[in-house]
C-alpha cells in the first residue's frame, strides 16, 4: 500500500510538472474503473441469469429414440441439460419458449466417424505403429468443417487420425462448438484406431534401387504382414505389461487397449479382413468395434456372434476413390439392414477419414440423415435407422449417458426438423447444442 502511495504521489508531482488538470483526470480514471467493474459484474450476472433461465420447446412430435414418440410434447432445458420431457409439464412463467408445434424434434445426431476438423495431413509418415498419436492435439476449433457439420445436425462427433498407419492413434469425442479444443472435447483417448486391409500397406515400399535408409521403406507391404504386425504389437504389449522395463508411449497405449481400458476400432472393408480381425481379437481377448465394414453383410452372423458393434460408412453405389476401388467394390446396398437383422449393433457414420490416397471432402460425403433415409430405402427398419445415427453410436462411443436420446438429465442436444427426419423433403430448422441454439434456418 505504501509503495502504491509513493508511486501515486510521484506520478502526481510528475503530472503537476506538466500542469495537467489532475483532478479531472483522476475522476475520469475513477469513472472508468467503476464502469469496467460494473460491466464485469453485469456480464457475470447476466450470464448467471441466462444459465438459470429455463428454455421450453413445444414440439409437434418428439422422437425420443430411447422410448416411444411423444405427440405434442414439451422439453424443458436448463443449464444445457434436459430437465424434463413429456406431455403434461408445467412451463415456468419466465421460461423462453421455442414454438416447434408444427415440427418434429429429435436428439442431435452422433457421427461416430466424422471428417476431422484439423489442419494439415492426418497421416503420420514416420512410422506404422503410432499408437500414441492423439488427434485431439491437432484439433482446430475454427475449422470450416465444424461449422458445416453443425448445420447438418451433428452435435457429437468421434474423430480419429488418418487411415494410412497400421495402428494409427487415438481418437477423440467432441462437440462441434467451442472456442478452444479443450472446450469441445467430451472424451479424449476415446478409442485406438487400427487399420487393416490395403490402406495400411499403401504407400509402403520395400527397398528397391534406393538406399535402404529411405524414409518410405516401411512395413507392412502385404495383408499377411498386416496380420503379423498386429499380432506382434499385442504380443509386445503383453510382454510390456509383464516386464515393464522401460517406458514406451506407444506400448503404453497398446497395453491399455489390450487390457480393455481403451476401446479398439478396426477399419476393415473386406470379409477376409473382418475375419482376420475377429480371429486376432479372439486370440488376445479383445473386444472390437468394426469401422467401414463394406463387406460386413457377408459375415453378419460371425460379427453378431462376437458381439462386435459396427460403424458403417462411407456409402456409395460405385467406388469413387482408389482405396474404395481396390477393396470396396463388392457393395451391398442393404449392408446396414442385413447386419442389423443378424443382431449386430449398427451405427451409420460418414466415416470420411482421409486415407492414404483419398482426400474426402465434406461436400462429397452425404449427411447422416440422408444416409439413414437410404438405409431404410435399402431395407433397414425405420426405428433402427434412426437409432443408428443417434443412440447406437452414442452407446458404441460410450457417451450414451450424455447424448444420443432425449431423456431427463441428458445434454440438451436437440434438432428441430420440418418433418419426418427420414423424408427427403424434410429440413433442419434449428440445432440446439448444450441448450444453446447454434444454427437456425
Amino acid at each position: 500500500m505504501a509503495i502504491l502511495c509513493i508511486k501515486g504521489s510521484r506520478s502526481e508531482t510528475f503530472i503537476e510538472d506538466f500542469q495537467l488538470p489532475i483532478e479531472d483526470l483522476k475522476s475520469k480514471i475513477q469513472g472508468v474503473i467503476w464502469l469496467s467493474f460494473l460491466s464485469v459484474l453485469l456480464t457475470a450476472a447476466s450470464r448467471l441469469c441466462a444459465q438459470e433461465k429455463t428454455v421450453a420447446i413445444k414440439a409437434g412430435e418428439i422422437l425420443t429414440v430411447s422410448g416411444a414418440p411423444i405427440k405434442a410434447g414439451i422439453i424443458l432445458i436448463r443449464n444445457g441439460k434436459i430437465t424434463d420431457i413429456g406431455t403434461e409439464i408445467a412451463v415456468p412463467q419466465d421460461a423462453s419458449v421455442i414454438d416447434a408445434s408444427d415440427s418434429v424434434v429429435m436428439p442431435g445426431l452422433v457421427d461416430a466417424g466424422a471428417l476431422p476438423p484439423v489442419r494439415g495431413d492426418l497421416n503420420e509418415q514416420s512410422g506404422e505403429i503410432t499408437a500414441a498419436l492423439r488427434i485431439s492435439t491437432a484439433l482446430d476449433p475454427k475449422s470450416k468443417v465444424l461449422k458445416r457439420i453443425v448445420q447438418t445436425g451433428c452435435t457429437t462427433l468421434y474423430i480419429a487420425p488418418g487411415g494410412a498407419n497400421l495402428i494409427a492413434g487415438l481418437g477423440v469425442i467432441i462437440k462441434p462448438v467451442g472456442k478452444t479444443a479443450a472446450e469441445m472435447v467430451i472424451k479424449d483417448d476415446a478409442a485406438l484406431k487400427i487399420v487393416m486391409g490395403s490402406d495400411s500397406t499403401q504407400g509402403n515400399r520395400i527397398p528397391w534401387f534406393e538406399p535402404p535408409t529411405n524414409f518410405y521403406y516401411r512395413r507392412p507391404t502385404t495383408t499377411m504382414a498386416v496380420a503379423l504386425m498386429l499380432r506382434k504389437s499385442f504380443f509386445d504389449a503383453r510382454q510390456y505389461i509383464a516386464s515393464h522395463e522401460k517406458e514406451d508411449p506407444d506400448m503404453e497405449v497398446v497395453a491399455a487397449a489390450l487390457q480393455g481400458k481403451i476401446p479398439i476400432r478396426v477399419a476393415v472393408r473386406r470379409a477376409i479382413d473382418i475375419r482376420t480381425a475377429l480371429r486376432i481379437a479372439n486370440e488376445y481377448g479383445l473386444s472390437l468395434i468394426l469401422d467401414e465394414c463394406t463387406e460386413g453383410y457377408k459375415v453378419a452372423e460371425e460379427i453378431a456372434k462376437k458381439n462386435a458393434p459396427v460403424v458403417l460408412g462411407p456409402f456409395y453405389y460405385y467406388p469413387r476413390t482408389s482405396s474404395q476401388y481396390d477393396e470396396g467394390r463388392e457393395v451391398s446396398w442393404n449392408n446396414a439392414g442385413i447386419l442389423a437383422k443378424a443382431g449386430v449393433r449398427v451405427a451409420i457414420a460418414s466415416n470420411a477419414q482421409e486415407g492414404p490416397r483419398l482426400a474426402a471432402t465434406q461436400d462429397e460425403s452425404i449427411d447422416l440423415l440422408t444416409a439413414a433415409a437410404f438405409a431404410v430405402r435399402h431395407g433397414m427398419a425405420p426405428a433402427e435407422a434412426l437409432k443408428s445415427i443417434t443412440l447406437t453410436p452414442a452407446e458404441i462411443l460410450g457417451v450414451a449417458d450424455r447424448v444420443g436420446s432425449l431423456e431427463k438429465g441428458k445434454d440438451a442436444d436437440i434438432l428441430i426438423l420440418s418433418g419426418n427426419p427420414l423424408a427427403a423433403t424434410s429440413r433442419i430448422k434449428r440445432v440446439i447444442l448444450n441448450g444453446q441454439t447454434v444454427f437456425q434456418d
Binding site: V331, T425, S426
Partner: protein, 447 residues
Amino acid sequence: MRFRSCAAFVCVTLIVCMVGALGYAAPVRKKLAIKAGKIITIAGPEIQDGVILVEDGIIKAVDKNVEIPWDAEVIEAKDRVVMPGFVLAHTSNGLDAPNENVPEVPFLSTFDSIDPVNPFFEDSLRDGVVAMLVLPGNNTLLGGTGTVVKPYGRTVEAMLIKRYTGLKISLAPPVQQTLRYTDGGYSYQATGNISRMGHMQRFRRYMAELKDYLEQYEQRKKDAKEQEKPFDEEIDARKQPMIDLLNGKLAAFIYCGIAADVPKAIEIQETHNFNTALVLGTDGYKAADLISKKKMPVILDPQLVVWETNQQTNAEEMKVAPAIFYKAGVKFAFQTDTSEYGRRYLWYQAATAVRYGVDRAEALKSITLYPAQFIGIDNRFGSIESGKEASLIFLTGDPLDAQTWVDKVMIGGEIVYEKAKDLRLKKLLEKPKPEEGQQTSQDKNTD
C-alpha cells in the same frame, strides 16, 4: 381332278396371302388401359383413381372417368402412382470416353460412342429415366453433337430417340494432365489451351474463320452463277454443326465451369444468336440474376448444396442452387451422379429442391417437362397428355419420398422394366447365400 386340286391349292394360297396382306396392312392396334391409383400428369392437376388410355404406344386419353374399350388390355395399378418418366437433360455417361483430345471437334457425334451395355443405362432405367441427352463431356471447346436415347435397347439404333441434338461448347479450359488409359498404356492428355484467355480466343478465332469461310463460299457460289457455271461445291461437313448452330437448327449447350463463364456464354449468345442452354458448375448460382435477365434454360450441377464462407461474418453458409434459381424465376433441370447415394436420382434432386423451398409442382416439372423442353422432345415426352408417348413410370409411392421405388417403367407403351424381375437389384438388396463349407471351416479356425 387334277385341275380341281390345282384350283383348290390356288384358292388356299390366295386366301392365305390375303389374310397375310390384311394383317400387314391393318395390324391389330394394341390398346392399353392403365388404371392408376394416382396420376401425376405434370400438364394438369393430379388425378386420383384415373385411367390412361394408350393406343400403339401413344396416350389417347387421361382422365378420372374414361370409357375403357372392350379390346383394351387393362393394367391394374390401383396401388401405384403413375407419372411421366424422368428426362435427363445432360449426361456424358455411357460413352467409351466423354471427350476427344483435340479442342475443336464439333463434327463428332456421341451416337458413335454410346455403349448400350454400359451399366449407366441399366441404372438409369431402374431409376425411372426414360429419355436422356448424351452430350460430349466438358473437356473440349467444341465437343460435338449429342444424341437423345432411351436407356433401353441392345444397340444404339434401338435406343435412339433423336439424333443430332444439341452441340456441346465448354467454356472451361480443358482439365490438363488427366491420366487416361489408351492402347499404349497410361498417358497424360493435354487438350488445347490452359487459360480462359486462350480458350475464349480460340473460340472467337474459330467463329471468325467460320464466317470468312461462309462469305467466301457464298462469293464462289455467286461468281459461278454470274459466270453461268455449274456450282457443285459442298459445305465442309466438319463445319456443318457450327453452321447449324448459327442458323438455329441446333441448340448450344454451353458448359460454364465457374460462374465467371456465364457472362461469356451470354456474350456468345448475343453475338451469334445461338439457341442456348447453360450447363452450370457448382457455383453457377452466383450468376442467377444474370441468367434470369436473359431467360436462358439452366442445367444444374449434380451437387446442389454448396458451402460458402461468408467473408464478412466468417460463417459457413449453405447455398442451394435450385432454390436460388427458383427465386430468380429461371427454369432449370438436373444432372445426376450415379456413384452417389442422393445425387444418383432425379427424384432426390427434386426432393432436395423442395426441401429448401422450391414449389413441389415446379420441382416435378424440372425432372420431366422442362428437360424434355430443353432437349426438344417435349412433343413426345415430359407429361401425360393425349398425343404424347406412353413413357411412364409406376411408383410405389410419392415420387419425392425416399422410400418410393420405381416398380415398372413403360417406354412407348411397352413395359421394359419390372422391379420384381430385376435380378441385379435383388442381389444388391438381399443377403447373399452363405458360401458352402466356409462357415464351418471358419468356425474351426476361430474357436
